[in-house]
Subunit: 293 residues, 2 copies
Amino acid sequence: MAGTGPVCTERTPRVVAARKLLRRAGRERAGRFLAEGAQAVGSALDALSLGLTGPAGGAPAPRVFELFATEAAGARHSDLVAAARAAGIPVSAVTERAAAALSETVTPQGLVAVCGRIDVPVADALTGAPRLVVVLVRPSDPGNAGTVIRLADAAGADAVVLAGDAVDPYNGKCVRSSAGSLFHLPMAVDRDVASVLAACRHAGLRLLAATADGERDLFDPDSADLLAGRVGWVFGSETHGLPAEVAAAADARVRVPIYGRAESLNLAAAAAVCVYTTAGARQVARISTEPVR
Amino acid sequence: MAGTGPVCTERTPRVVAARKLLRRAGRERAGRFLAEGAQAVGSALDALSLGLTGPAGGAPAPRVFELFATEAAGARHSDLVAAARAAGIPVSAVTERAAAALSETVTPQGLVAVCGRIDVPVADALTGAPRLVVVLVRPSDPGNAGTVIRLADAAGADAVVLAGDAVDPYNGKCVRSSAGSLFHLPMAVDRDVASVLAACRHAGLRLLAATADGERDLFDPDSADLLAGRVGWVFGSETHGLPAEVAAAADARVRVPIYGRAESLNLAAAAAVCVYTTAGARQVARISTEPVR
């Protein structure tokens, strides 16, 4: 099975130490966080060898310090256990109770990796010539933040930046809802919103603020030129939207048009529409300008 | 304040009766459900006069049987209380405790309407010549279902259909996450998926199944003709996707392309991208074919 030593219980010191990572203060003190489940653990192990794909072609690879696995999960995911061992990562067998103690979910996955934090300075996340970057300003809901990170990854964004007083991206709910994407692209966390915007501009990005009352309609043909360039999409929080001064500082304020009677879209839906419309429009442009084969 | 009679407590018979609507069995028995908060209550009251905007221009208006309001909520939303009274709807003052007993949320809104169910038969939801309809097959998460209803409304869809063994759309979480949109467009609920698809075809809709491995790329220029017509988007559940036989029965299977390393998009994000790409593309087509003013 998974471990080589005795099976750890919830009182074994390494489990007790890992449990402290369930709280933000514990994560910040240790500079580590927990990734639970096969998808997150698999992505973390992949990232060890592949690195985080960024505009410069690879931010530093994350570190995985330890893997905990119950007997059942270790048997079910023997490939992951083998990959961890091959990478020199200690694998500890844990009881079901210890796995539950390391989990925030109702149905613990039985597989938890202790990872080193993976955020990089904003300038590093934006090196190279990023074409699509997602900036979340003061995101307050971890599930939303993770969902947007997953979306940014899916749309082929080069980096994600959490700006201002943001939710902890290493919160279990954020890690879970990112579905592994946290390990797929460079992420920066910076409390200074103005300096994040300045760094994006310095990297050659045109900043588009997504606001419900933006002067530009995302689907207006006149917006096509805006979307065709190198774009930094700037989104606010679900509850408070984008601060007025941040929206004002962007190069344009873009609205997803409401064709029906809904007052608005939720953050994740609006972000999905904005980011994919940008990525998809480029794809169309690329295909239609390609020489005929 | 809100009520004309004595303030109801959680033991007052009308409150006890309304509390039964927190459970699916209670809702089905009574044919009623609860709409909590100013947004939902406001949308329900608006729908009384406006009706549900559908392809035929107005499905039957919903009924609102009763409004419960705490003193604080009644004062805060005196416009809604007045609108309810003007419509002849009994308004009852309730204690904070009674409001909490009628709520599933951590922070009760103090304002709860008892509404009659508003779903209509599939054929009624699809009368007229619907141009954009959203079909959810076996949705299992109420929050997701509500989010997709909100999205369909925002994108100007003509109707929403919940097909197969579906979550109850009158579940509090679904009502909440629809943010009032449940009252904005006709909704049908039908356990027979095949007959829902047949009804959509009969209404002249081309059925596009959203699947991760669809043969059509949503952003492929060749897909433009598919999106330009009258479309019924068919989505599966978050956990189980779309049943293979349903995907096979659609006119085309369409994928949101993954440009990065994410395995997939979540249901709400994929639906947002599919539905808005359809609605937005039409808008662009409409603008570019309009005579120059």
